[in-house]
């Protein structure tokens, strides 16, 4: 930042950057605005930008008619549940790989990553049939199991990169002091690992919340999360723009807030540490 930048140039960049940011953000803004319009105004030509009769009735109607809360509850249970199950598996694995690496640790990590690259249509048919025969279609348990397997490689990978940053000497010192393995994990490692685990959890909840292949194919109503709830608005009879907008706003708002908090981790998480 040592370079001197003229105020004129900075003003120009400011204008350009804000214009670009606004254009990218506009569809979301437009959707939020539409959610406060009446159906008639949402549909009107020329479009109404700010001067319309603001109303919040759409939000009430969406909840009343299609039970938004039930889908939202499912979204929360699926995203949080699958993340927690993954953590139980991933924390020990990442810990072992980071602090006691063997010859094949690197290959193992890459192999885990490669399971992520398997296209879901390659597994859709057997999973669908197994779920049908096992009574798991449209159940939360079934979907948590699938999301858990989708999450696991990313969680192991992220935790591994975070754990790697913890100096191994500290662990050695605690071991010299006679700490058992269990104490070492609980009292020494965990406190240092909390920030890494927290950002991993955050990123993963976002990904699980927005997952739309398996949720659309394996659920219909009982276990259906918000992705499926919104998809139900694609039928022609459901085409009420203001209500679609209200439902959409409610479906993305919680995760948008989480996402904004975790944008730093996003780069690292989504590139598997290849760009930091």
């Amino acid at each position: 930042m040592a370079r001197a930048v003229s105020l004129r140039r900075k003003s120009l960049t400011t204008a350009a950057a804000w214009l670009f940011g606004f254009l990218i953000f506009f569809p979301i803004l437009w959707m939020v605005l539409a959610s406060f319009k009446t159906e008639l105004e949402a549909f009107s030509t020329p479009p109404k930008f700010l001067f319309f009769d603001w109303t919040i009735e759409n939000y009430g109607i969406v909840q009343e008619r299609s039970d938004y809360l039930r889908f939202a509850t499912n979204s929360i249970i699926l995203a949080v549940g699958s993340t927690l199950v993954s953590l139980v598996f991933a924390v020990p694995a990442a810990w072992a790989m980071a602090f006691s690496p063997g010859k094949r640790t690197k290959d193992l990590l890459l192999w885990m990553l490669s399971t992520k690259m398997m296209p879901p249509v390659g597994a859709l048919i057997p999973i669908y049939l197994l779920f049908r025969d096992g009574g798991l279609l449209d159940t939360r348990v079934g979907l948590i199991a699938v999301l858990f397997l989708l999450d696991l490689p990313i969680i192991v990978w992220l935790l591994y990169t975070y754990f790697k940053e913890i100096p191994g000497e500290i662990l050695e010192a605690s071991r010299m002091d006679g700490a058992t393995l269990w104490r070492e994990i609980v009292y020494v490692l965990t406190p240092m690992a909390v920030p890494g685990i927290a950002s991993t959890v955050l990123l993963n909840i976002i990904l699980a919340w927005n997952e739309a292949f398996w949720t659309l194919n394996l659920t219909t109503s009982d276990a259906a999360p918000l992705t499926v709830f919104i998809a139900s608005y694609s039928s022609p009879e459901g085409l009420f723009w203001a209500k679609l907008s209200a439902a959409s706003t409610m479906a993305i708002a919680p995760i948008m807030v989480l996402g904004w908090f975790s944008q730093r981790q996003l780069v690292r998480g989504l590139t598997f540490g290849a760009v930091k």
Partner: protein, 287 residues
Amino acid sequence: MATRQTRAAARAAVAPSVLVLFLWMIVPLGMTIYFSLLRYNLLDPGNESFIGFLNYEYFLTDPAFLAAFGNSLKLVGAVLAISVVGGILFALLLDQPFFGRGIVRLMVIAPFFVMPTVSALVWKNLLMHPVSGLFAWIAKSFGLEPIDWFADAPLTAVSLIVAWQWLPFATLILLTAIQSLDEEQKEAAEMDGTPPVSFFFYIVLPHLARAITVVILIETIFLLNVFAEILVTTNGGAATNIPFLVYAQALLQFDIGGASAGGIVAVILANIVAFFLVRMIGRNLEA
């Protein structure tokens, strides 16, 4: 530092993850390969018979496959072109000093957090509707004929929606990469009076090469699997790509054998991309 005891503990700690992922990978894949060799229709249960590679022959020679394959490639190509070129330009812009960086950054990254079904339906209706959509109004204001996106250019429409979701991703990653460019190098170039264009082509672009490759590979893997956006906008039609074709064959036509063959074709295509990505990340792991 690794005693035999910690070695054993480490192995026990890794084993559960490896085991579940191994099963997750091998069981469905094995079953898909097995199904792909059968004549197997859900409407005709109990009559499964082994037919060798006939399903592959049908799937690969079906004109619908070629169309879907073409659509998959066009979708991936269009979204990559928009998000990478746009991402570089916008990352350069956002790297400049300006007022309100934090807020602009939040606005730019926002679309990435929108679930696919929401972005698809909001774009399809509020923006791209041929009569009441905002784009139609803009076109009419300029005296142009509004485009009926999903009737006349469904694949372009889907590509635009998906590009909107992925442009923020590319911008964010390339911005992170640009910001790691050595400040002294910038100053040196400035002192030498390097024109901005050569500065970009000789210093910035080579510096970004790696990040660009990462963006291309990761996006390709996700873009080959685009499904929800097509399901809720056109429900297939002229925008059908390979995942959607396999889905339709299996869950709408109940042809398990044929769909499985399609699934295996999709796996092979994805693996070609994955091969390069894994090698690249592996190289990074050593560094």
